[in-house]
Amino acid sequence: MKQVILVNSKDNVVTAVSEILENTTISVNSQIITVKQSISFGHKIAIDDIKKGEDIIKYGESIGMAKEDIAQGKWVHTHNVEETYRPPE
């Protein structure tokens, strides 16, 4: 049973495709990562350490900016990601 999907090889997050309990290990690109929080279906987990101000990368593109440092294995969502979309003037 698959646990996470890595959409693009450039991404620094994966998306959970099942409920993942805290302290579960997942395998991403031959790397073993410990999930530090319980993650719901459809939610994202950092697969690298992401520094405050860095881009969250999914689909090979920036989907937003880290509001704070996000450790590998942590949940990535509205609480620690800032929307960087600016509509056209």
């Binding site: 698959k2 998306t15 279906f41 969250i56 929307e83 960087t84 979309y85 056209p88």
Partner: protein
Amino acid sequence: MVTSFFGFERPNGEIGVRNYVAVLPTVGCANEVVLEITRHVSGTVGLTHRQGCLKLPPDLEQVSETIIGLGKNPNIATVLLVSLGCESVFPDKIADEIAKSGKPVDLVEIQKIGGSTNACAKGIEIASEMVLEASQIRRKEYDASELMLSTKCGASDATSGLASNLAVGAVADKLIEDGGTFILGEVCDIMGSEDVLASRAVTPEVGNGIIAMVKDLIVRAQAVGMDAVGGQLTEGNKRGGLTTVKEKALGAIAKGGSTPVKGTIGYAEKPPGKGLYVMPTPGRGYENLTGVAAAGSQLMLFTTGLGAPEGHPIMPVIKLTGNINTWENLRSHMDFNVSGIIEGTETVEQAGERLYEEMLNVASGKLTKAEILKYNEGMEILTYGPTI
């Protein structure tokens, strides 16, 4: 891998995947006659809508162009137009323009012929002859490059941006590689990723055209005091895992694949060449599907998470889902299952290859669930301005 299908050749060389006799009203007041004709004659399809009058000239022009485009779609063998007589579009002009494609066109006018009953009788007589002729056209084998596919997502969920949209993107890439055409739309879902899409445009001008579509949507929402961007990411989206508008939009434009954007086209406008084009369609199905059908799209790939059932009168719509529950519970409406991508039993590439094959099968005559259940009778033409 097979890259051909069996279709119907039209006089102008375009290839259809269906062989309809279309009964097409030039105004909503003719709908009752259209429906009566289609009830009586097999092989006909009615394209009822509620436009043709009491809109401002730019909208009337768009309505007229869309009706012409629908009539020219290669899935249609012959066209019977039904007019009231006093509408604000010009039935003779519409008939002439459709006839330029080489297909037979006829016209019945309710006020001229003495009312709806006479119009029905005459229409049934004409449509019957049309169907007899059309039924003698045979499917022949053609290259996939003759296909113009379109796509839409509806009732999306977390599986859409992870599975079904990506599978469609794989098909878009393959079809374009094989010489075909693909239309991406839904400006509300491009909004958030228009810079990414624009960066893939063949010229800066095309890129600016994409950005302009998004700006136009934002301005029109502002005109009624609404914030299009603020409303785009719902609480339901966030509960489901979507964090930003950018993330949602990137998941949506994945349906268009990865090839360069060749150009932007207007609503209902036929692409000027092969490749990937972007049309400013809304997220709403009635107008969205009608716009691409009028541009000449023969077939649509429609991703759904929760299960949207609707199709279109003249354009088969393949419903695919990455949600196993939707596939099981709504099998009567779903055509194709890509939940294997979620389960890890299939890659996006593998699902895309299977979907390409399914697409060619449907092009060759395999019916979609929306066609089987007749869940394909609603359509509407997009207008922008006020109703007078």
